[in-house]
């Protein structure tokens, strides 16, 4: 049961993430991205990572996606002002992308397939364990990421503040 659900949702993730790239209308892309994130949430639930599932649902699907839509509306993207890409660039891009895909597929095929839904430690993703990891072995990076957030905040204020002339 679990395995078939996993493969079903995984297929959906792949299909919708491809739709993100191939759809011509940027708003459609964002909507497909929301669906892709929703399938990720299902993956987290399958892994019994409830906290990550909820965070992914609220923060990514809710807040960040709305932000994306706002930015798209503000930028007013449409076909006319889309930059033209030469065929050369497209061909080079396709070749480079295909090389990457071949490498990744090849190496993943050579890896032994594990059962995707049998968890060695079913409680791994629970909030309690997550907290223990964050405030135990990973305390230093967790605390240092505050510098990252603060510098981003200072920068956002700096860039948006109107300068007195």
């Amino acid at each position: 049961m679990g395995t078939s659900v996993f493969y079903f949702v995984a297929t959906l993730s792949v299909i919708f993430s491809l739709m993100v790239i191939f759809s011509k209308n940027p708003v459609h892309s964002v909507l497909y991205l929301i669906v892709t994130f929703f399938t990720f949430t299902v993956h987290y639930i399958l892994l019994n990572a409830q906290f990550l599932a909820v965070v992914n649902f609220i923060v990514y699907m809710g807040a960040i996606m709305v932000l994306f839509l706002f930015v798209l509306m503000l930028l007013n993207l449409n076909k006319d002002n889309e930059p033209l890409k030469s065929n050369m660039v497209k061909i080079v891009g396709v070749i480079a992308g295909c090389c990457l895909v071949v490498t990744l597929v090849g190496s993943l095929k050579a890896t032994a397939i594990s059962d995707p839904v049998i968890l060695r430690n079913p409680n791994l993703g629970l909030l309690k364990n997550l907290g223990k990891e964050l405030f135990g072995p990973y305390m230093l990076p967790f605390e240092l990421s505050s510098i990252l957030l603060l510098s981003a905040m200072v920068g956002a204020v700096l860039l948006t503040k109107k300068e007195k002339v």
């Binding site: 990076p141 240092l144 990252l148 603060l150 981003a152 200072v154």
Partner: protein
Amino acid sequence: MNIIITIAVTALVVLYAGLFKAKKALLPITLVGLLASLAFVVTSWNTNKTYYGMMQMDNFALAFAGITIVGTIFIFLLTQNYFAENSENIAEYFTLILFALAGIEIMVSYKNMSMLFIGLEIMSVSLYILAGIRKGNFASNEASLKYFLMGAFSTGFLLFGITLIYGATGSFDLDVINQYLVGNFKTISPMFYPGVILILIGLSFKIGAAPFHFWTPDVYEGAPTLITSFMSTVVKTAGFAAFLRLFADTFAPLHDFWLPPLMVIVCLTLFIGNVTALFQKNFKRMLAYSSISHAGYLLFSLVTLSGNSANNVLVYAAAYTFASIIAFAVLILVKQKTGNDHFDSFNGLAKKNPLTTLILTVAMLSLAGIPLTAGFIGKYLMFLNVMGEYQVYLVAFAILNALVGFYYYFKVIVAMYFKEGNEIELDTPVQYKVVLVLSVIITVFLGVYPAVILNLI
């Protein structure tokens, strides 16, 4: 650890000083904080402490921390008369530079992939913003956006690589990954190899090595000159320290696997950097391409891994940092006077400013790699290291490229001494004089008496 705390606290104090309009106090506070962290670097020499299993303050980390802090002090000294008098945001600029430095200290001392990522991001996020602080300037906006998009893209590569390596080894810890490689050499998971390549790509983006260099010239040219000098000296040194920590130590057992792609990157970087620099009419853009070509020479230390690799990079990075700071400082002065940064602005500069032109000449000679300057020692060590494994063709190719380099570095010297021009007289503030003289003393001293730094690590 105390180094990072000192720098981060200094950044916060500067931010508050800006809030209370204490404009005069900003630079002294910053310098005191940086000198204190430099003192911590000196006092913790040879202690080799590991903090929480995440950061290793060995001599490698301390040496690179020292050089980046000194470089940042010099760049802070160059802020005199640089930002507009009435600007209200100087405290924020200072804070962001200090935050970037805190990220850099994490990058030179990480022992865990998560720390590498956080350090790199702290540094990059601060730099994306710093590149765009000239809000009214189109080039600055473009530089910031381009840097941000490219940086985010390359971070994606890096993260994907880290994920694959985690999948193969089950750990972010560099020692555990190294143990895994040594212990299971015959049965390394196939996922590990693309992981290594993706990390190689991600880090090459960050240090601006070809073919991942396309952002470099535009960003370096568009960003304010002071920020460019920070990016091309301190940030680049940190990128190489991070590169070296990962590839020269942790991934060393797989050297045969990642050597061919690295060789391609080295050759392309040298060739594209040097040849494109030839055709530049703009001094700042020329320095951007020259920084690409120097990235190629710096990568030589990874072609042949030896006990000296880290020290060679340190010497080269020191030589390159101080020579570049001189070049950018003089460029700022010239630009303030003439309003543009083309080679023509340097015409006839020697008549009225003998000392400044002499110092810039020494810097150019050092970047080109003429004996008796630090740049020569750096290049010599790099070539010697590679010759240890008889990579004759690579050395021959690199020497040809170095010869190409002579041409465009000498173009500046020729313009200053032998071309007729609008004989301008530069106003050199005191702090600029201090930075120029100290940098040139370090450059010549390291060139004449390199033994001080040669066996440091």
